[in-house]
């Protein structure tokens, strides 16, 4: 084998750079000056980006475009029964670079780098600067581990790692209770999803005997089996078939995990709260990268999903429902970041819709474009907040278009992109998804289309409320409105550029494009079983009509937003007044948090109290009331019963017997004649017993003799 080249051979360096700086920050960061912190942290991400880019370039030279590298065996707990008898369970610490992970590392390091740069400006005045960058770099490490992992368990490491960093960064302002609450909520909700993921891993391990994605590029493909190859073999032998229940179960479990991480129904509730974190965090973690991990994971496991039609449908349905549900909630939000958060959820729903209809590359494509424009939106929002000294309420903004131009222009671009206006990035990716959806599940397409309209509406609502119209900024803030420093605006500009050109990787075929992106990813998303009757290629006309529909509805949404928020600013209040219930429902986010609290959180707390009481009262008895028994009261029968019933083993021995010993003491009267009487009673007892027994004994002997 020829040498794969420096960057590929040193693939492991990509996650290592941020790890090193993260460790450095967390260990000695406190004593470093801010400039050093920025230098190390941003530099390491830049190095990662360079290495990632280099590796991707070198990957293009490989055929097939797969590079795998195992550093060491990581978890090796022995044998397990699986496909083909017993096989050792091995999770390597290994990295896999294929087109899918290539896209991901570029997005992660690229966007990540820009956001790091932005953070230098944004966080410049905050305390815990080193801590912030330490966490951010730790996040980069975890995210890169996640996307580069060559097996599910390592992916899970990254998965949990990003979750942890998300927890830490959401709770970065730990003095605020709402922040630490939000962090905790994020972590725990993610954990709920993780149960599904973990169980999915178990299923995969026991079904395939391995959790490695592929055995490509490995010396011994039997000893180092991969899921992909094993799946193929099992299909070939007929041990698994299209729609096999086990595959459906796996797919559903993994999807449940993905729902947690990617904030899909029913586990999306943490993401809006996660906006408590600093804005760059929201941009990096809760928009561009981490939340897309679920999408990545499902795409990564596409081999299984392709064979699980029910799961696929469910993924599509959940995605679509999430998309419209979140979009509807975004309409009524007044916090700029929360609007964006719901928008993120909605867009993630699109991605899942894409995955669910089998358009994996479309989903990943949307992931990428979304990363660009959503990061931009968040950073822009951050810039606005920065400008307004921390104000996040849309109702207190307005008219900022000209006061912060370096922010507002890119923001407009991003808004157009997300609204799906050609030829910006969002248009291409969203259009491709909707096209594929129409092909497979037309009613989902319809919902998707509605969502696109809603998206355009609420995004422009945001834009109008923030940048246009009259300023509603409080006076004391008005004077302080200032443009952000270069470190913040330059990344905005770059991201704006990416939001424009990002979509051109996949120029629709209709427009004479070549769908470079899809082709690049094709080997990863190769059909596991050739579909018997491939639906004929859609006609150009249909494609064109679909495109038109989505553009039209986007424009309609924009128009509506303009109508309500610019032309007739009083209208939205009237609307809210005419549908008070709906408005209230939307403002309160359908009361989902409250319902969850009532259904789960409070129930678990009740259980906890109940169990605690159970321990204290039933298992442990009246330990609380220990003095009572020390007093050795000659208790009444009822009390005795109480004690006895609620008393556990120890106290049973300790107290019940002590209680018993009281009547015993009554016999020890100290009176001689009663003692003597006891002797006689004992004698009589012995005699009675013995005589009785003897008689039986004799009868037995006689029986034996006969």
């Amino acid at each position: 084998m020829t040498s794969p080249g420096y960057f590929l051979a040193h693939l492991w360096l990509i996650p290592l750079f941020p790890l090193i700086t993260a460790a450095l920050m967390l260990l000695v960061g406190r004593i470093l000056p801010k400039s050093a912190v920025s230098f190390f942290c941003v530099g390491s991400v830049f190095l990662s980006f360079v290495h990632a880019a280099g590796a991707v370039l070198q990957l293009r030279n490989l055929d097939p475009r797969v590079y795998q590298q195992i550093l060491f065996e990581w978890v090796t707990p022995g044998l397990m029964p699986a496909f083909g008898g017993l096989s050792p369970f091995v999770a390597d610490w290994g990295y896999l670079l294929d087109p899918l992970s290539a896209v991901m590392i570029l997005v992660v390091t690229g966007v990540g780098f820009l956001i790091h740069v932005y953070s230098i400006g944004y966080m410049g005045h905050e305390g815990g600067y080193y801590r912030f960058f330490g966490y951010m770099n730790l996040f980069m490490f975890a995210m890169l581990t996640l996307v580069l992992a060559n097996n599910l368990l390592l992916l899970f490491v990254g998965w949990e790692g990003v979750g942890l960093c998300s927890y830490l960064l959401i709770g970065f302002y730990f003095l605020k209770k709402s922040a630490s609450d939000a962090g905790k909520k994020a972590f725990i909700v993610n954990r709920v999803g993780d149960t599904g993921f973990l169980l999915g891993i178990f299923f995969i391990a026991t079904t395939f005997g391995t959790i490695r994605f592929t055995s490509h590029n490995l010396p011994d493909p039997v000893a180092f089996a991969g899921i992909k190859e094993t799946l193929a073999a099992m299909l070939e032998q007929g041990r698994l078939a299209y729609g096999a229940p086990v595959l459906t179960v796996i797919a559903l479990l993994l999807f449940f995990g993905a729902c947690g991480k990617s904030a899909q129904l029913p586990l999306y509730v943490w993401l809006p709260d996660a906006m408590e974190g600093p804005t760059p965090v929201s941009a990096l973690i809760h928009a561009a990268t981490m939340v897309t991990a679920g999408v990545y994971m499902v795409a990564r496991m596409n081999g299984i999903y392709q064979l699980a039609p029910i799961a696929m449908d469910l993924v599509a349905i959940v995605g679509t429902l999430t998309a419209i549900f979140a979009a509807s909630m975004a309409v009524a939000q007044t916090d700029i970041k929360r609007v964006l958060a719901y928008s993120t959820i909605s867009q993630l729903g699109y991605m899942f819709l894409a995955l669910g209809v089998g358009a994996f590359s479309a989903g990943i494509f949307h992931l990428m474009t979304h990363a660009f424009f959503k990061a931009l939106l968040f950073l822009g929002a951050g810039s606005v907040i920065h400008a307004l000294s921390g104000e996040q309420d849309l109702r207190k903004m307005g008219g900022l278009w000209n006061s912060i131009p370096a922010t507002s222009r890119p923001f407009l671009i991003a808004t157009l992109a997300i609204a799906g206006i050609p030829p910006l990035a969002g248009f291409f990716s969203k259009d491709e998804i909707l096209g594929q959806a129409f092909e497979h599940l037309p009613y989902l397409w319809f919902i998707g289309l509605l969502t696109a309209g809603l998206t355009a509406f609420y995004m422009f609502r945001l834009l109008f409320l923030a940048f246009f119209g009259l300023s509603r900024v409080p006076h004391e803030l008005e004077e302080h409105i200032h443009e952000s420093p270069k470190s913040m605006t330059v990344p905005l500009a770059i991201l704006a550029l990416l939001s424009i050109v990002g979509g051109w990787f996949a120029f629709p075929v209709l427009w004479g494009g070549e769908s470079t992106f899809a082709n690049f990813l094709a080997p990863v998303f190769r059909r596991v079983i050739p579909e018997a009757a491939e639906a004929g290629p859609q006609t150009a006309l249909v494609d064109f009509l679909l495109m038109l529909a989505s553009v039209a509805i986007a424009v309609f949404g924009i128009w509506l937003a303009h109508l309500i928020y610019i032309r007739n600013p009083q209208l939205h209040a009237k609307l809210a007044a005419s549908w008070p219930r709906l408005h209230k429902l939307l403002v309160n986010k359908y009361y989902v948090d409250e319902i969850y609290d009532a259904l789960f959180v409070n129930r678990i707390k009740d259980l906890s109290t109940g169990f605690g009481l159970f321990d204290a009262k039933v298992i442990d008895g009246i330990g609380v009331d220990g003095s009572a028994w020390l007093a050795r009261v000659f208790s009444s029968i009822s009390m005795w019963w109480d004690k006895w019933v609620v008393d556990g083993l120890v106290n049973f021995i300790g107290k019940f017997t002590q209680f018993l010993s009281t009547p015993i003491r009554m016999f020890q009267t100290g009176v001689f004649s009663s003692y003597a009487m006891f002797i006689l009673i004992g004698l009589a007892g012995l005699l009675l017993y013995y005589g009785y027994h003897m008689q039986h004994h004799m009868q037995e002997l006689m029986r034996n003799l006969r």
Partner: protein, 100 residues
């Protein structure tokens, strides 16, 4: 002589009467006497058996039991005197310092 059972019943009667004395009387001296009665019952048994077997062992035993009774009486009465000296009573149910 009578059948052994007669003697056995006699001895049993004395034994039981002795026991009744022990457990019903409050006066420790009478209790002590009741115990002598029990030992006496034992002696009847022993002498009876000795007679039946034509063997002196039973009588020897009985002799020793008399000796034992004497010794017990001596010590018992000594203790009664000591007790009386301290407590001015010989009633069994007034021995109630030690209980529980």
């Amino acid at each position: 002589m009578m059948s052994p059972a007669h003697y056995l019943f006699l001895s049993l009667a004395l034994f039981i009467i002795g026991c009744i004395g022990v457990i019903t009387r409050r006066n420790v001296i009478i209790v002590l006497m009741s115990i002598e009665l029990i030992l006496n019952a034992v002696n009847i048994n022993l002498v009876l058996f000795s007679r039946i077997f034509g063997d002196a062992a039973g009588q020897v035993f009985a002799l020793f039991i008399i000796a034992d009774a004497a010794a017990e009486a001596a010590i018992g009465l000594g203790i009664i005197i000591a007790f009386f000296r301290n407590r001015e009573t010989v009633m069994a149910d007034e021995m109630d310092l030690l209980k529980w």
